[in-house]
Symmetry: C2
Subunit: 515 residues, 2 copies
């Protein structure tokens, strides 16, 4: 039948390396599980040589995830490639993805290499990688701004050296759809041997064109799209996985290609990435935003009632958006909760069901109605992996506007060694006051970088989801909290940060990462 397009997800590499989107090992594994359930073809799990944390993440994903090919990114230098091969050792199917910049400005300003030196490095890198792994991808970084004839030479050389996929990234998000189409067509006609390998596109969204450029590359002959959930990635991010997949599917008549992704998991995968990174998706985001299938204006509503097709080109069910809202109550048992979670796209692991049930029961006690979105927040929240030595025994916060006193916090923390510790703090607001109290309990220096909150589901008793980023003794962590009380949600997020900092083994510092 029609040509199959490989979906190469880089949420865990290009997405995770961008400011404000870092994830812990546990979070990365959770995202990898959803990607695998969704049947993406390749998961790029990290850049093993960039940091010990990245190495561990690629190794853990390689060990656990079956189904998709697991890729690791590396420069063309031997140490990077060896390290990547090592991280991928236990993968069922693995890919070494090696890159070097080819554009004149990158050769001159960054690499300080001649054209020949770049080609030599590319060939050596691919040959070395091919010794470890029979699936080797080569990326010509800033390929879009590379001289055409030279780019063709580079690609020919790496194909001869053993690359099985060649990627031509629009690293700076500069291209237009017509240019992409033209370039891919030309490469397909020009580069000897290119018909025997996969041709890949990797687009950045600096001008809002990443999805369109990826689709134009497919029209021009590309067989692989590199993309990320919620379009996260360096600067304005990468091509959004959910948008490009739904465009290929909705307009199959136009593009005439196939994708193997189970689109019914798009919404839950998007929500998971939003929750673990604390970057909520805007209402007007295509495919997965709250408004994507909402119709406000009277004329539209009238049309919708007459026939859904008048305004709807996709069905909410196709992307796993639930029509029904109301789900469970206080008397719902373990079985009902696990089943409902499964319908929503979350396969719960046995070891996490206990914690989720506990939170569910607590919530059902205080909330009149428990919605899908509440359950989802509990699941994604409890999967953020904030296990550490400290837990909150008791918290009291007094806030006052125009009164005599500053906001004051008193909190009692229990340590896993059995001790408890009570401290008070003051500040310009409850968050600052809590930070001051926590600094005393833990003897660390905490600086809050950002705070975001939003309500989950409806009603004044809705849960609030808090996402905090802070440095603890100058190392950055993120934390996540969920409660019907906004102050308690912030406390929980701060506690997760403290716990993560204490379990400092999980820390990863990024040194190098590209494409």
């Amino acid at each position: 039948m029609s040509r199959k397009i490989h979906i190469f997800d880089t949420t865990l590499r290009d997405g995770e390396q961008s400011p404000g989107f870092s994830m812990s090992l546990g979070q990365k594994l959770r995202v990898a599980r959803v990607l695998s359930e969704m049947k993406v073809d390749i998961i790029e799990a990290g850049f093993p040589a960039a940091s010990p944390g990245d190495f561990e993440a690629v190794r853990a994903v390689s060990s656990e995830i079956q189904g998709p090919v697991i890729a690791g990114l590396c420069r063309t230098i031997p140490r990077d490639i060896e390290r990547t091969a090592q991280a991928l050792e236990s993968a069922e199917k693995s890919r070494i993805h090696t890159f070097i910049a080819t554009s004149p400005i990158h050769r001159r300003e960054k690499l300080k290499m001649s054209r020949d030196e770049v080609i030599r490095n590319a060939i050596n890198g691919v040959q070395l990688a091919a010794g470890f792994c029979n699936d080797v991808e080569f990326s010509a970084e800033d390929g879009i701004r590379t001289e055409r004839e030279y780019l063709a030479d580079v690609l020919q050389a790496v194909i001869e050296a053993g690359a099985t996929t060649v990627n031509i990234p629009d690293t700076v998000g500069y291209s237009t759809p017509s240019e992409m189409y033209d370039l891919f067509q030309w490469l397909k006609k020009t580069v000897p041997g290119i018909d025997n390998v996969h041709i890949s596109t990797h687009c950045h969204d600096d001008l809002g064109l990443a999805v369109a450029n990826s689709l134009a590359a497919v029209e021009g002959g590309a067989t692989q799209i590199e993309c990320a959930l919620n379009g996260i990635g360096e600067r304005a991010g990468n091509c959004s996985l959910e948008e490009v997949v739904m465009a290929l599917r909705t307009r199959a008549d136009h593009y005439g290609v196939e994708v193997g992704v189970d689109t019914r998991l798009l919404t839950s995968a998007s929500h998971l990435v939003a929750a673990v990174t604390g970057n909520f998706v805007p209402r007007n985001k295509a495919i997965v935003g709250e408004n994507a299938f909402a119709h406000e204006a009277g004329i539209h509503q009238h049309g919708m009632l007459a026939s859904r097709e008048t305004y709807e080109i996709m069905k909410p069910q196709d992307v796993g958006m639930q029509d029904s809202q109301l789900i469970l109550g206080k008397h719902s048992g373990r079985h009902a909760v696990v089943d409902r979670a499964k319908d929503m796209g979350y396969e719960l692991e046995n070891d996490e069901i206990e914690a989720i049930m506990e939170r569910f029961k607590d919530l059902a006690d205080v909330k009149k109605r428990v919605f899908d979105s509440d359950l989802e927040a509990i699941i994604t929240g409890s999967q953020t992996g904030g296990i550490g030595p400290w837990s909150l025994n008791w918290l009291s916060v007094v806030s006052c506007v125009n009164g005599e006193t500053e906001p004051t916090v008193s909190m009692t923390l229990a340590h896993e060694d059995g001790s408890t510790s009570t401290h008070t703090g003051e500040g310009d607001g409850p968050v600052e006051a809590m930070v001051h109290a926590l600094e005393q309990v833990t003897g660390t220096r905490i600086e809050v970088l950002s705070l975001a909150m939003r309500s989950i589901s409806l009603g004044e008793d809705a849960q609030g989801e808090a996402s905090l980023r802070a440095t603890v003794d100058e190392v950055e962590y993120s934390g996540h909290g969920l409660s019907t009380d906004i102050v308690a949600a912030c406390a929980e997020a701060l506690l997760e940060i403290i716990n993560r900092a204490t379990r400092a083994a999980e820390t990863s510092t990024q040194e190098v990462s590209g494409v």
Copy 2:
């Protein structure tokens, strides 16, 4: 020189009509002022026949805003057109924008009209509009899914009837760039008289292609782009103004057209729309997101240090993003604040400077450092226009986790008639407790629909910005609060909602709105 592309902004019409993006009259005026300073060519200010609120908004924008053409949307029925002409009466330059659906599914399911009936309605509408106004735009709703030959007939008929702009919207966000190019090329070759009018594109982002489709239409001959700040609009929204403008400008070599927009105001305009609608822009949003010009990964940083051009195709200054962060302190005077605001793209009105200075002084008292983003939040916050009878005299909130008591609020409100009123409330969190207290003070029924918060600038003493939506006696309002205390920020947002509900004259209910 090269062809000029008209930028037609529909933030206040298609943007404002989508769920969760409604604006008060004062907010609409503020957005219109920024659009006018930015020199967009046309501002679509609303749909006057849809509701009294929309009528008032179009009338107010028409009276105040000089420079851009002010457009009002209407169906082709006489009552709609007359009402629109009336709303636009005092505009310096006005445009009546009339539409009817032309696609088979809309004709059959929504309009229940034959092809001929649709054409007759279109002609009558344009002729009537042309009697009121010499600038008439006609939109063929769902034009993209209309039979080509019939679409050409419709456009020819309305051009003969006096339309000066013809718009072919992708109402459901279904098209692809190559189809758009092809259709616009074909129309330009086929429709008699089309060279004498403006050809417009209006794209929705359901598949993430709105910007690319708009650009493809320009390549195919379009001379007007309909778009909205932050890409807001029905469902996944419209083409993002900031992205399409920066794409045309950054790739002027490719598109070869001119736009008149002052791009240095893009960032502040985007922030204003985010603040007044309470829909924050994600970090990875192109052009205006926090990360749009941020480079995390080591390789990228290395490249950036070597030469900005290696990874940067635009300069942050081009879009009004400030490099410097630190601005003002406790001793900064009125002049310094007004100047700084001006540098950031905010021309402060005389009557608002007092309120802004008061908030600035309050903030400088509690905060060690005041950033651009703090000042911006004060400006956009104080411009949200929440003037009403109630003010907060005193607030005390006690939150407790694992303690004996529920969160409890005690608040004293002053009414402009001189009376004060103190009440307490309990709830599952401080927001619910405040709602209960406010219900008692005001004798209304309040239901919170959504809450979003985020931190502004840096540090644990950073300000928190709260955005709340709630119904008061079943009518929806939004409110906005700003404080270093997250609870106080929520209180302020709730108070704005109560005040708006009390000044119910500002209420607008939406009935009909399309394209």
